[in-house]
């Protein structure tokens, strides 16, 4: 699957590409308005990461161009302007999601994964990870047909880990994913530790392996 990154800040674009690319995803990057237009007219992408302010034009116009040509590419807007108007008009114009800079790459990856899942959703809205089967509509998790009783936050956390599997997710990224960005808890991450401990315990109790590893107090990683 191809992902197009339309972002004029090359370094940011490079980080996104490094983080997202794996055996399933392949990234292309363009840095200005006209080459972006060219790319979207020539190819189809599973997801387009679109910056609003671009040299040579606005990302909004690219979005409109996509919709005018009935392209089905998923679009995630990233903007330095955390403006509600941008968000509303972006989503109205057909973007699938909106993310404000500076974002966490795991957050971006989770959003991209969600967009791609929605776009390529072929009747079944399930997500399989090893023995875990997530029902994305009902927000439930089953192991060998037995439901693991997770709280809403634990479910969100698990889905977040699965969308970022084999990646180290920092505690800050986890906190922001679960409690939003106006929750100012930067000086204390004990609650994350407690939270993840509970999740691991429940998964272990259901008879699965311990997927989630702590990485030097920096963050956590989910691996097979």
């Amino acid at each position: 699957m191809k992902i197009l990154i339309i972002e004029d800040e090359r370094e940011l674009s490079a980080s996104i590409c490094t983080y997202l690319k794996n055996e399933k995803f392949f990234c292309e990057a363009v840095y200005d308005f006209s080459s972006a237009l060219e790319k979207i007219s020539l190819y189809e992408y599973a997801c387009i990461i679109l910056d609003i302010s671009l040299p040579g034009g606005s990302g909004m116009d690219i979005l409109k161009e996509l919709k005018a040509n009935n392209k089905a590419d998923g679009v995630l807007i990233v903007s330095a302007k955390n403006s509600l108007d941008d968000k509303v008009s972006g989503l109205k114009s057909g973007a699938d999601d909106y993310l404000t800079k500076p974002f966490y790459l795991p957050e971006l990856a989770a959003r991209v994964a969600a967009i791609i899942r929605r776009k390529s959703f072929d009747g079944n809205n399930f997500l399989q990870f090893d023995e875990l089967l997530l029902n994305l509509d009902e927000k439930t998790v089953k192991v060998n047909n037995t439901v693991i009783d997770l709280t809403r936050k634990e479910y969100d956390l698990l889905l977040y880990f699965i969308s970022n599997k084999n990646k180290v997710i920092s505690k800050g990224a986890i906190a922001e994913h679960l409690w939003g960005d106006d929750m100012d808890m930067a000086d204390n991450y004990d609650f994350i530790y407690t939270h993840i401990k509970n999740l691991r315990k429940k998964i272990l109790l259901a008879g699965c392996r311990d997927y989630i590893k702590s990485i030097y107090g920096m963050g956590y990683r989910l691996t097979l």
């Binding site: 983080y19 500076p102 974002f103 106006d182 100012d184 808890m185 990485i215």
Partner: protein
């Protein structure tokens, strides 16, 4: 002063008049002497006395003087004007005294003074009243401008138009005021734009640094000590990002970018937040008691959420392990009480200031409560802080809702 001068002048004129009369009298006596060769019989005329003395020597001079007791009426003390002169009748010199009472002239001058005093007072009174009326009319544009200036708040741009007056000085004043206001307003706008732009411009480099960090921590070859270094840098970036975000938010609230309002069910929103923050409360073993009435207020939804998030996170952060948070919601106010860590109250005057840091919160950027205050301000609420029975109490008063 003027009346004193007037009195003196008047007296001078009147005495001059009396002197004139006395001279006429002298002349008459001289004529009589010339005609009949003897002195006229002193005739007692009202206000006038004439008498003679023999005089051994004589001078040519006439002497006018003021005397008090008329010599002919020793009982009646009157102020008189006296003329002394010498006259020769048949080789014999006489000194002639002619006295004229000044009482009459005194009466005249007194009544003239009275009349003029009354006139002056009447004129003064009239002048005073006219002045007041006129001045009030005249100064009206000034007071209009003054009251406008009292109302004026920088950054809350109303169109500044002073009424044109037909007084040049005031037009000048108004024009100067308009100019300085608009230049202050312009500079304030520029400053705000600068802050906003600066914050916006910071977002992209912050995004780059954070993304690089996210990539860096994926490196399997990182040793533990390297990881710790990365971790510290990561957290610092986090604080910077949050600070920047809060500044942007404050700016946006100030610029009234959250103008869209709707009816918000505050009770429901608080209940949602209680679920949202359940885990955080659980970790610190905080007991929450909430007495909530159904309250619906008109405000912006995003602002309502941010307000509650800030009040909650503030309360959670500063409540010690095992402490208590009480939330009371009524139609007039919303109160967040939380157990304090220390015995001392926070500084009420500085608490809501930007970058205010309490003793125990050096980690905090100090914008959270400024944001709360600003939201209250634009939503027509007020916020108060109290310290009661070892509890911090933040009360949002709704009663000012327009």
């Amino acid at each position: 002063m003027a009346s004193i001068a007037f009195y003196i002048l008047l007296r001078f004129v009147l005495i001059d008049q009396v002197d004139e009369d006395l001279k006429i009298e002298e002349h008459e006596i001289e004529m009589y002497v010339e005609k009949f060769g003897k002195l006229p019989e002193p005739m007692p005329v009202k206000d006038q006395v004439i008498y003679y003395h023999f005089a051994g020597r004589h001078t040519k001079e006439r002497i006018f003087s003021n005397v008090t007791a008329g010599e002919s009426y020793p009982d009646k003390k009157e102020r008189s004007r006296q003329l002394k002169f010498f006259i020769a009748v048949k080789e014999q010199w006489y000194q002639v005294f002619v006295e004229k009472s000044l009482e009459g002239t005194n009466d005249i001058s007194r009544s003239i003074i009275m009349i003029s005093l009354a006139t002056i007072i009447a004129m003064l009174a009239a002048g005073f009243i006219i002045n007041r009326l006129l001045l009030r009319r005249l100064w009206r544009p000034f007071y209009t401008s003054l009251s406008f200036m009292k109302e004026f708040r920088l950054g809350q741009t109303q169109n500044i138009v002073f009424k044109e007056t037909n007084i040049d000085e005031f037009n000048d004043l108004n024009k100067t005021l308009e100019q300085s206001i608009s230049s202050a307003e312009r500079e304030y706008q520029q400053l705000k734009e600068f802050t906003e732009n600066a914050s916006h411009e910071l977002q992209t480099p912050l995004a780059v640094v954070r993304s690089k960090m996210d990539v860096l921590i994926q490196d399997e070859k990182l040793s533990e000590s390297q990881s710790n270094l990365v971790q510290s840098a990561y957290e610092a970036i986090q604080k910077l990002a949050r600070l920047n975000q809060s500044m942007l938010l404050l700016n946006k609230i100030e610029n009234r970018q959250f103008s869209e309002t709707s009816a918000i069910d505050i009770k429901q929103l608080i209940e949602q937040k209680l679920i949202y923050f359940k885990e955080l409360l659980g970790v610190k073993n905080i007991t929450v008691t909430a007495k909530l009435e159904k309250v619906v207020k008109t405000m912006n939804l995003s602002l309502a959420e941010i307000l509650l998030n800030n009040l909650f996170s503030n309360a959670i952060k500063y409540t010690p392990e095992g402490g208590k948070i009480d939330i009371v919601l009524s139609d007039t106010s919303m109160i967040f009480n939380n157990t304090a860590e220390s015995e001392s109250s926070l500084d009420k005057t500085k608490l809501f200031n930007r970058f205010y840091k309490g003793e125990q919160s050096s980690e905090n950027h100090g914008l959270g409560l400024s944001i709360v205050k600003q939201i209250c301000l634009v939503s027509g609420f007020t916020i108060e802080y109290k310290f009661i029975a070892r509890q911090h109490s933040f009360e949002v008063l709704f009663n000012l809702t327009p």
